[in-house]
């Protein structure tokens, strides 16, 4: 298992190289003149050339890319072309916000979605099941920004319970954004949990567990849900990854300075160092999440664990026998 984790972390290096190369090429393909666009049409050509030289834009594409990689290896992502200060300052300021919003919303989504999903599965065809599945369809059908706007209208402007925007009001500012995202994502969790539990609850081994005289609560949570965890971990990982980079809309609606808006603005401002740094950050996070997902698979399912440790296992019995003798 340990070996596998090391291997997976090492594989991240070429993967990141590929991702950054693609993004770097895409940005470079644009025919924007960064020096000209920063200094404006009135600036003299000498000044523009000087700035482009400073940005390294007078060098060939591959050399610029390798210079960027060399910097990135030393965690030096360069200065922002737009703000003229190190991009790490902005990344460091915004990254915690993104992480906070993502974890809070996924946490809320799990807390709401999983118990209701299990309940809907256990009481299949009951009124509760019908209400929950209909509601979750509704939530999935309404775009998140609609829910967000309605939320702002009701809870900020009418009731004045929470601040509408920004992150300056401490924990209060996180309530509405994370609840909005969390509730909207909980709909997916509810449906995934429901179908996953419905699938396991019909398995032969659940009948075996019942035949042992186990109480229903243990049948559901200790056996059926336990076996439903695998697909749930998968989609939790995917949603985490999606939220990290894709909460742009939420960040805009609630004016949260996060990585999503940073990427968007830096692309619009043709701020190459900023874009590269932010996207590299997101890609690395996504890969780490996927690694955690794969490790969790092994924790939850012994059959997957066996695949990772099969090499070691061949030796173990021989050792045990030796010890016994």
């Amino acid at each position: 298992m340990f070996k596998y984790i090391i291997k997976r972390i090492l594989i991240m290096i070429p993967m990141l190289l590929v991702v950054t190369f693609i993004v770097f090429s895409l940005i470079s393909m644009s025919d924007v003149d960064p020096g000209r666009s920063k200094l404006g049409p009135e600036a003299s050509q000498e000044l523009v050339d000087e700035l482009n030289h400073k940005y390294g834009m007078d060098q060939p594409f591959l050399i610029r890319y390798f210079k960027w990689v060399w910097g990135a290896i030393r965690l030096d992502f360069g200065d922002s072309w737009y703000y003229d200060h190190p991009v790490s300052v902005d990344i460091a300021a915004r990254f915690p916000n993104t992480i906070k919003l993502t974890l809070l919303s996924i946490g809320i989504a799990l807390i709401i979605g999983i118990p209701l999903g299990v309940l809907a599965a256990v009481k299949q065809y009951s009124w509760a099941d019908r209400v929950f599945t209909t509601l979750s369809m509704l939530m999935a059908a309404i775009p998140t920004f609609c829910i967000a706007t309605i939320g702002v209208l009701i809870f900020c402007w009418k009731l004045h319970w929470v601040p509408a925007t920004g992150v300056v009001n401490g924990w209060k500012s996180w309530i509405l954004p994370s609840l909005t995202l969390g509730i909207s994502y909980s709909a997916s969790f509810l449906r995934f949990t429901r179908s996953s539990v419905l699938d396991t609850i019909r398995q032969d081994y659940i009948r075996t567990v019942r035949s042992k005289g186990v109480r229903e609560r243990t049948v559901i949570w200790g056996h059926s849900f336990r076996n439903s965890l695998l697909p749930l971990i998968t989609i939790t990982g995917m949603m985490l990854g999606g939220l990290l980079g894709g909460a742009v809309i939420m960040e805009s609606v609630f004016v949260i300075p996060g990585l999503g808006t940073l990427v968007m603005n830096s692309i619009n401002q043709y701020d190459m160092p900023m874009t590269m740094a932010a996207i590299t950050m997101l890609a690395a996070m996504y890969m780490l999440i996927m690694l955690v997902v794969d490790i969790l698979y092994a924790v939850v399912d012994p059959r997957i664990r066996a695949r990772y440790t099969s090499f070691k296992k061949k030796k173990a019995p021989a050792k045990a026998e030796g010890g016994a003798a």
């Binding site: 081994y205 009948r207 075996t208 035949s211 042992k212 005289g213 186990v214």
Partner: protein
Amino acid sequence: MSEKLLEINGLRIEYTSENGPAKAVNGITFSLDRGQSMGLVGETGAGKTTTALSILRLLPKYTAKVTGGEIRFDGRDVMSVSEAEMRAIRGGRAAMIFQDPMTSLDPVITVRDQIAEVLLLHREDLDRANVDAEVGRILEMVGIPAARMHEYPHQFSGGMKQRVMIAIAIACNPELLIADEPTTALDVTIQAQVLSMMRRLKRELHSALLLITHDLGVVASICDIIGIMYAGEIVEFGTLEDIFDPEKKHHPYTVGLFGSIPNLTMDAERLSPIPGLMPDPTDLPAGCSFGPRCPHYDPARCGSTDPVGSAGTPTEIPIARKGQHQIRCVLYADADL
């Protein structure tokens, strides 16, 4: 404590299906004494497993319904006991071995935990500290080294998994052991091992056994009494001697069943399978349900082969009895047996 451990009287079970109610069990009656073993034999779809599941009240909640009759376990009506009392019976006083060991064990939980779960529920003498030793002892009883208790089901072969299933079932010394085709999913050499082990365990534990199978050879090697099931009815019932004696009278279906088994001493060119198929349980014939396949079929006495719906009232088929031997067929009167 009554002598009769299990009594089933006129049990009827229906499943809901798209084509109307499927009558899986149609008024079966039998009883099982303590320590006795009974074989329930029949083709796939005869209602054997449904009967077995109903004894532990494990029928699927939404699709199956007991529509008549009663089940008594040690004198108590299984249908009317509370869920908590039922849980105390399940796994404790009555345990079940399922057909397919490949899918019947929880894949993500160790064998030790699966056996310990039933032990901790029903055995008051055990707590978390000494349960490991008992799990080991039970595993050794079914021929699995105790050292393997911390392994997962996927690390065991099919035969070993069935041994684990049996270990779970016998863990609390049940008074009644229900085995639903315990050897069907196993290959022949493993079948023999598992069977001889079950014979030994039954002797050691003094449990009553309800063995469900379609294999007459399995029944002959382990059972005292036998019920032959067809389309949800017991068409013939008797002791091992009654059923396996070719000199005695038998239901045409029993004769057909034996005709589909190869016999070394008989000079037959080929096996003689019973022609036709089991009737559709949503559309049972008004007369004898074996009528459509029976070589002795007589419309005047056996009733119509048309479904009850189109042929009116069902014809009652008489049961001929002598001692324990019973045959549900118009060919015989009590005196003929």
